[in-house]
């Protein structure tokens, strides 16, 4: 039941602010608020059981965390893009030998 409430809230929030990100607010997250990773795990459905229920119950009562969850969802739903070649070369250079292997294969 709580899950339906949360996802229903997501849907209406997405309709209102599809491209809006965490805007100005003077509210502060509380100590009981789950971390960003927990929210991410809830959105990508990694969290199960008691952890999932805990996050859902918190989201039902915390608009700030719901807002953050919507923002994370908007970022997570993005399809991965193809970065520029220079970027890929940079990454390979971070672990130098990887460049040699990639060139040998290419």
């Amino acid at each position: 039941m709580t899950g339906h409430v949360i996802w229903g809230d997501f849907t209406s929030a997405l309709k209102r602010h599809d491209e809006a990100f965490l805007g100005g607010t003077r509210e502060s997250f509380k100590d009981g608020c789950p971390g960003t990773m927990a929210l991410g795990g809830y959105i990508d459905k990694t969290l199960r059981g008691a952890d999932k229920v805990r996050v859902e119950e918190h989201l039902a009562s915390c608009p700030l965390c719901r807002h953050l969850a919507v923002e994370l969802y908007l970022v997570l739903r993005n399809r991965a893009s193809s970065p520029p070649e220079a970027f890929m070369q940079f990454l390979l250079g971070l672990v130098p030998e990887a460049k040699t292997v990639a060139c040998a294969q290419g």
């Binding site: 003077r26 990508d44 990694t46 971070l94």
Partner: protein, 186 residues
């Protein structure tokens, strides 16, 4: 756990220094990080500079390999997927860039804390009188008093000496005191 076995194997291989694994990891997740950075910056800044997006995305991976792949070692597949983990790191890095124009090199690698420290946007911080402080002075005051960084953390983030931070802080506070003393006197 869904997909966690394959992820566990490739991460271990990366962390152990296997260059082939790093190449595969990069090919698989570069797009995830790049698009997350692009999305965040695009949503926050009026003009999107492609070079900035690339710089920020590169910095994400620099952070991943730093300190012997410390961030990758900390990944816990029971909490979220690897794509989600990398996306959250990318988002945090991009937000730091948007807010401060530099990369957070401070080991705030507990990204769970981000949910607590990112509640306020920088423009909601202390409102310094316009034109009174330089950009560097206001940045340092915000980091010290608003984000609760200590002096060494600010120095590392800005790439300056700790004494420089103290000096700029002193100058900024002096200017603020003079300003408000004058305002009160009049």
């Amino acid at each position: 756990m869904r997909g966690s076995q394959a992820t566990f194997v490739e991460l271990k291989s990366c962390i152990s220094g296997n260059q082939q694994s790093w190449s595969e990891f990069s090919n698989r997740y570069a797009g995830v990080v790049f698009s997350a950075v692009h999305k965040v910056i695009q949503g926050k800044m009026y003009k999107v500079n492609q070079d900035d997006i690339q710089d920020v995305a590169q910095n994400v991976f620099v952070r991943l390999v730093k300190k012997d792949f410390n961030l990758l070692r900390k990944y816990d597949s029971s909490r979220c997927s690897l794509s989600t983990y990398l996306t959250i790191i990318a988002r945090s890095t991009a937000l730091d860039f948007v807010r401060y124009g530099f990369f957070n090199t401070i080991p705030l690698d507990d990204f769970d804390r981000d949910a607590r420290v990112e509640a306020h946007e920088p423009e909601q911080g202390p409102d310094f009188p316009e034109g009174l402080l330089t950009e560097r002075q206001s940045t340092i005051l915000r980091l010290l008093f608003y984000k609760d960084y200590d002096v060494p953390m600010v120095a590392e983030a800005l790439g300056v000496k700790a004494q420089t931070v103290r000096s700029i802080k002193h100058q900024a506070l002096s200017r603020l005191r003079e300003h408000f003393a004058e305002a009160q006197a009049s």
